[in-house]
Symmetry: C2
Subunit: 287 residues, 2 copies
Amino acid sequence: MARILYGKEVSSALWERLLPRIDRLRAHGVAPTLAIVRVGERPDDLSYERTCARQADLHGIAVRRFVLPTEATQAELEAVIDAVNADPRIHGCLMFRPLPPQMDERAVCDRLSPAKDIDGIGSASLAGVFADTGEGFPPATAQACLETLDFYDIPVAGKRVVVLGRSLVIGRPVAMMLLARHATVTLAHSRTADVAAHTREADIVVCATGRARAYGAEYFSPGQTVLDVGINFDEAGNLCGDVDFNAVASVLGEDGAITPVPRGLGGVTTSVTMAHVVRAAEVALRR
Amino acid sequence: MARILYGKEVSSALWERLLPRIDRLRAHGVAPTLAIVRVGERPDDLSYERTCARQADLHGIAVRRFVLPTEATQAELEAVIDAVNADPRIHGCLMFRPLPPQMDERAVCDRLSPAKDIDGIGSASLAGVFADTGEGFPPATAQACLETLDFYDIPVAGKRVVVLGRSLVIGRPVAMMLLARHATVTLAHSRTADVAAHTREADIVVCATGRARAYGAEYFSPGQTVLDVGINFDEAGNLCGDVDFNAVASVLGEDGAITPVPRGLGGVTTSVTMAHVVRAAEVALRR
């Protein structure tokens, strides 16, 4: 049975480093503040919003909500983004996506100030992750993977990593972040011929395709580390990852490691989002 | 012996498609114009500048040179970029890099208008390649690889590609472009443990590490396609690629294919640069 990489420990360590920084900000009269921009009332968005608000509240980060109806126009949403950009008391902005079809999502993302783009959705942040330009922030989920590997002392440099899934939220950015840390990175996806042939040879596998329990024992080998980014629901309505946890944890064996779902990377992602707000507030204070 | 993928045929086909477009632009009173910005007198830069100027001249593209001394300041170079951005008669800009150490290269690259960034050096272009945002242009060398594969009818979708080298000029962008075309892409580099174990399993290998004849027969298998992006000089002063051409061409066998150096991707890169100038001029005309 593999070692289980719970997210709670990673988050606790993150918060331990964050709390004195939040105290220092408050001592300077700065209340680190996250703007949450939501269009419509999708249950997933509402659920993540509640999680963020609870975490923020617990640790002294303020949250300001900007909610628009599903039928809002591009101009209305852009006015909200402009207000967020202009308000010096807001340090970071989390905007739920996808936006409704009448909106130009790329234009909205690029309108957000890179300094406040704590979820890495704008072109400046994307270029930052791709090219190490230092601008913006990496997507929180991608950074949560790195934080988890680091917390559990799992080396990355020189290791073979296979990333399943090539989305801009996780697959491509986590691949670039692992590459910057000197991993040999393979990006596999729905068009990859023999996925298992790739994953079985890896040291670390990041599963981020959003397909419930799609990857079973036959995809893995003893001693590997598996990061399961999936947040899915099975037919019975139970939360589960992209990996068939029990079968895979057994194949990985004592030298292997795996993140569970729930209680894995999800919570780390929230903590990383908050850490980005704190960093954004610190940078704003130094200006 | 592998099929040799000469660049000349690829370039000729590109020019055949470009010439009527250049004629149409001229019929509208537009002379497609490339600005070349150079700081100092590095022999490599001067040589590529001559190649570009010759190709441009031959096909009706105008070239305007902006040359600064090595000791130029950031402000002086930025003034040149601003002038290029402001001049409606300039459609694309090629700036040689690296810049001298007193300059902030990222800031200069990001100052260039994405609409004129025909070599894909600014953050908007980088995000364009990483995230398919459609902004800017991909780096010419990376696109030259795709043009060559397409011209010679070498399929990419579903194929295993190994890219050796992770630079922003070629390794990372060509990996993203091949990924967008549905290849399964592995990025390998100086910290990769067993490079040959990766390359031998690939359908297509892109060699872009800039190490003269570093990859010999032991890295390859019959039937593969090898794109050699290297432009190096051996001890005897002869131009050569990253691949030991004769040994590798023999291993690849009749079903394999390889680009030579010289007479390979270099010329295609120049043609792609010119194609980007033409496209930039067309977009400017439509505005």
